[in-house]
Symmetry: C2
Subunit: 239 residues, 2 copies
Amino acid sequence: MYQLYYWPGIQGRGEYVRLALEEAAAPYQDLALVPEARGGGAKAIASVIDDASIARPPFAPPFLRAGRQWIGQTPNILLYLGERLRLAPADGAGRLWAHQLQLTIADFLVEIHDTHHPIGSGLYYEDQKAAARRRARDFTAHRLPKFLGYFERVLERSGGRWAAGRRFSYVDLSLAQVVAGLRYAFPRATRRGLRRCPLLVVLHDRVVERPRIAAYLASPRRVPFNDDDIFRHYPELDG
Amino acid sequence: MYQLYYWPGIQGRGEYVRLALEEAAAPYQDLALVPEARGGGAKAIASVIDDASIARPPFAPPFLRAGRQWIGQTPNILLYLGERLRLAPADGAGRLWAHQLQLTIADFLVEIHDTHHPIGSGLYYEDQKAAARRRARDFTAHRLPKFLGYFERVLERSGGRWAAGRRFSYVDLSLAQVVAGLRYAFPRATRRGLRRCPLLVVLHDRVVERPRIAAYLASPRRVPFNDDDIFRHYPELDG
């Protein structure tokens, strides 16, 4: 039984871990869905961060408890789970490649987040709106098409079906989540960007139709997109 | 023989890979030091990025050629090299932990970089100076002490000598480089921040005194700190 620690009320970076656990039907407890009074929620995160007896403390959520191991950093959690849940290439070089793609997705997520928080995560959006507008303009004009184009190229070279090779992997789950999130946050810029990325569009559709993913997305376990999250729909930022 | 591809003239993210290769006395060619006319420099990077025959293309430098493998993303390169160069913990859980720390260092580097480029990497610093000042204020007040405090805590729990456990690892090389870079970029804020991090200060000193690292740092292969790099000394940003 895995235990996933992440902020309640948002998909955030925890979602990439959830999608892998759901696709594999792995037994896990999502602490974000457990009330604080019963040991879950934000309090559960703080209690781990503050626990001096943990020899290998995580810096920030998400983190996963797997037996006696605490594992932090989203791509690192997926590196760990990928092999165990059979959601990664079977060989070492392939697993390294899948992980490299996941790290590039993680870089993309930082840039997506920073469109609405270019000055500081601790400040309100309202206090950095002008800077956000400028950063989002640069993002939608240059960075979004660059990242999407890269992943499209990766799909072309892998044969078109799955990103990391012939086998379905957690990278495909993450890419589908990114496409869905971008469509929510930047509908106009994403529509424009995806015009040149037919393989990425098909990949998204294939992923959300997988029976376990479809069931998860329709379940109450899936937090809806919302504007406290990494993907936020602020129309003024959609270039 | 490894081949390292990175931008000429800066330490950047390539430096974390160089330090590992130098510490291990691994045979490598640094393409940044090879003139373009002889197949190196920025042209070498572009020719890989544009090479349609590479099945697993990197998104951005640094990337490493190891035989027929192309490996991108700094922490991923170190994950690969760490085991081979004996610069990582000997067991799988330990290697995952070292990698987790390296990913947190990578997050720190993004925030360090974005103090001078909060709006966009493609724009000049001069065109985002006001936003940079605000972002740097938040960084020096909150983020810098938070990251340093975290790594100090990690050192406390590991026994104080090396970050990832009893064995010296690439994480120690990276932490020493971050301390040196922060001292160059934010001398005041870093002096303040390091007052509570005695173990991190000692770690830095131990690393730069290692014979191969000392020789490397004194060699012409080491690019000096400069203000086209991730670490930039802009006094107006040093809170």
